[in-house]
């Protein structure tokens, strides 16, 4: 450490950085809520943070959505205490695959396909990514796929609900971006 204590380091941040940070914070908060909701089957979660991902995708584009998702997974891992544990990598593989799916799905004609389609496809990709990683790495046995119908049913159910929430939020008049200091 050669800097004196009194000297402060200021990171140059852009408005875009602030926006990503704020949205990621919202996503992290929702993934904590997710983890707190008790559900009978381990691995089934509402995936509320995907609401934020989808909203960001619609409002600010794919790059911002990818940033927000990445930050949410890493910081969410820190807060939930599973950073670099198998659960973290499952969440990472699910997140990456669902982003990949969204990158493809956003090219669908918007006139016909709305947030619900994107939400359901992303949820399917998410659980598929997790199952694939679990099969390849954690449990190298096809028995892993025995529960997949339940997982996909849950993904469909929560995907529809999350998609409807996104559609509802998008239908509301856009709130003015809070001016950040």
């Amino acid at each position: 450490m050669t800097r004196s204590v009194t000297e402060t380091v200021t990171l140059q941040t852009t408005a875009e950085d602030h926006r990503v940070a704020r949205l990621a914070a919202a996503a992290i908060a929702l993934s904590l809520v997710d983890a707190a909701i008790p559900l009978p089957l381990p691995g089934v979660k509402p995936g509320l943070a995907n609401i934020v991902t989808l909203l960001v995708l619609y409002r600010y584009g794919f790059a911002t959505a990818a940033w927000v998702t990445g930050l949410r997974i890493v910081a969410g891992g820190l807060l939930l205490g599973h950073l670099f544990s198998p659960g973290f990598f499952l969440s990472l593989s699910g997140g990456v695959l669902s982003l990949f799916m969204l990158a493809l799905a956003q090219r669908l004609p918007q006139r016909w396909f709305g947030p619900v389609t994107l939400s359901v496809l992303a949820a399917f990709a998410h659980i598929a990514g997790q199952l694939l990683l679990a099969r390849l790495w954690l449990i190298p046995h096809d028995g892993v796929f025995m529960l997949s119908p339940l997982f996909f049913a849950a993904a469909l159910f929560f995907g529809i609900i999350n998609g409807l929430i996104v559609a509802r939020l998008l239908a509301e008049p856009a709130t003015v971006e809070p001016q950040h200091a």
Binding site: L108, P109, R111, W112, F113, G114, P115, V116, T117, V120, L121, F124, P140, H141, D142, G143, F145, M146, S148, P149, F152, A153, L156, G159, I160, G163, L164, A167, R168, A171
Partner: protein
């Protein structure tokens, strides 16, 4: 209710419908016969060995005309070698699903995959 339905576009209905059909169809597809759990080896119809499919294992079974070699790997099993002239059971390859069976008739040896549907070794939570 209709307010929520109005948020769905035509393609959304199609995607949700297709997904629901796909999910419904996947239940019987995946769940028939239970999980493959054991490889049952028989000689002349009597069980010689029940091998756990979770572990790697090689088993030699003395049959009517020689020795059959059974190989078990995580989740699958096969007859690796058999003295039979036509090698049908060897050429059948890996068996994975419950109920699949390879019969080495000349050597009176069979290998069958058994599921865990009808019997429970343990149930725990």
């Amino acid at each position: 209710m209709s307010a929520w339905a109005s948020l769905l576009r035509p393609g959304d209905w199609a995607v949700v419908g297709l997904a629901a059909v796909g999910v419904a169809a996947s239940f019987p597809l995946v769940w028939q016969g239970g999980i493959a759990e054991k490889a049952v080896v028989r000689r002349d119809g009597t069980v010689v060995a029940e091998l756990d499919l979770a572990r790697k294992r090689t088993l030699e079974v003395a049959g009517a005309i020689g020795t059959s070699v059974i190989v078990v790997e995580p989740g699958r099993a096969r007859v690796a070698a058999d003295p039979g002239p036509r090698q049908y059971c060897v050429r059948q390859g890996w068996l994975k699903r419950p109920g699949e069976i390879a019969i080495c008739a000349p050597n009176h040896v069979s290998l069958q995959i058994a599921g865990g549907r009808s019997r429970y070794d343990s149930v725990s939570y």
